[in-house]
């Protein structure tokens, strides 16, 4: 078996991936919203709130997607 298909490595890789996947999307969404608030629209916190919601959805979607690539046992 080639080492890249070793279930130990593949499983560990997937496990470590998922947590940051969730967090990063949230940060990017919130950050984009904040930037829109501060530099573009002066729209109070609302773009950031919307961005955080989008980020949360995107994060869950990313995590779900990487879980879909798990090898089926």
């Amino acid at each position: 078996m080639p080492p890249s298909q070793d279930p130990f490595y593949a499983g560990l890789g997937q496990a470590v991936r998922i947590g940051t996947e969730l967090l990063a999307a949230l940060i990017v969404g919130g950050g984009l919203g904040w930037a829109v608030d501060t530099y573009l629209l002066d729209s109070g916190p609302w773009a950031m709130v919307g961005g955080l919601i989008l980020g949360a959805i995107a994060g869950i979607r990313n995590a779900y997607r990487s879980a879909q690539q798990w090898p089926k046992s």
Binding site: S4, V16, R17, A58
Partner: protein, 249 residues
């Protein structure tokens, strides 16, 4: 003796150089990167110089590494991904050696600087976007629309996809940086406990440092592996637009 557990991450300038306000001093991290580059080059050149049919120790080590990277590329990108082999092998070996050499006491972990990991992550992601536009032209914008999206969902799906695309380089950079920093901070804290505990109880945290050092070796491998796999996945996404989604179902 009290020592700040974040002390190992401080950069000490050996030769301060300032170029037009830019700080390009030769510091610990720079020297460490040179050491890593020299070591990887030396290993690969020495391993490749003999080219025996029955490999010696060094050659078989290099062959295992090359086979490992080849396996990752073929699994994620397919055969035509092999044209990226030099880039991906360089990335993997550099990150792996940075992680591993950082575990030697007194050495510096280059990958615990977010600047370093962010530059890698951004250039990898930038390359994948560039390749996507090069191969698919304007159609590559379609990566923001998952296949099978009904038209009325587009205003919602495109921002979500945009955020999840932009999250990729951030996740890539933060994962490597955070894992290396966290591991070394734990080691430093435990060593501090071992020293301040004295002989009576200090052996306990010291035993832990040995165990965690073993764990850190594994983490060094796994983080280098994950960075490489995700590089391949992102490049593969740019190659086969929506190809992965079709295979998944």
């Amino acid at each position: 003796m009290e020592e700040n557990p974040l002390h190992p991450f401080e950069l000490h300038n050996y030769i301060p150089i300032s170029l037009g306000g830019l700080d390009i001093s030769i510091n610990k991290a720079v020297v460490m990167m040179w050491v890593v580059v020299a070591l990887v080059t030396l290993l690969m050149v020495m391993a490749g110089s003999a080219r025996k049919l029955v490999p010696g120790k060094l050659q078989s080590l290099a062959e295992i590494l090359v086979d490992f990277i080849r396996g990752i590329i073929i699994d994620t990108m397919g055969k035509d991904g092999m044209r990226f082999f030099p880039l991906i092998a360089t990335l993997f070996l550099f990150i792996l050696f940075c992680n591993l050499l950082g575990l030697i006491p007194g050495a510096y972990t280059v990958t615990s600087q977010i600047v370093v990991t962010a530059v890698f992550a951004c250039s990898v992601y930038g390359l994948s976007v560039f390749m996507g536009f090069l191969l698919h032209g304007a159609k590559f914008v379609g990566i923001l629309v998952p296949p099978g999206t009904p038209g009325w969902l587009l205003p919602l799906m495109v921002p979500i996809e945009l955020v999840s695309q932009l999250a990729r380089p951030l996740a890539l950079a933060v994962r490597l940086f955070a894992n290396m920093t966290a591991g070394h901070t734990i080691l430093a804290v435990l060593f501090g406990l071992a020293i301040s505990g004295g002989l009576l109880i200090g052996w306990l945290p010291f035993a832990f440092t040995i165990a965690i050092n073993g764990l850190e070796v594994a983490i060094a491998f796994i983080q280098a592996y994950i960075f490489t796999v995700l590089t391949c996945v992102y490049l593969g996404d740019a190659f086969h637009l929506h190809g992965h989604d079709e295979h998944a179902h």
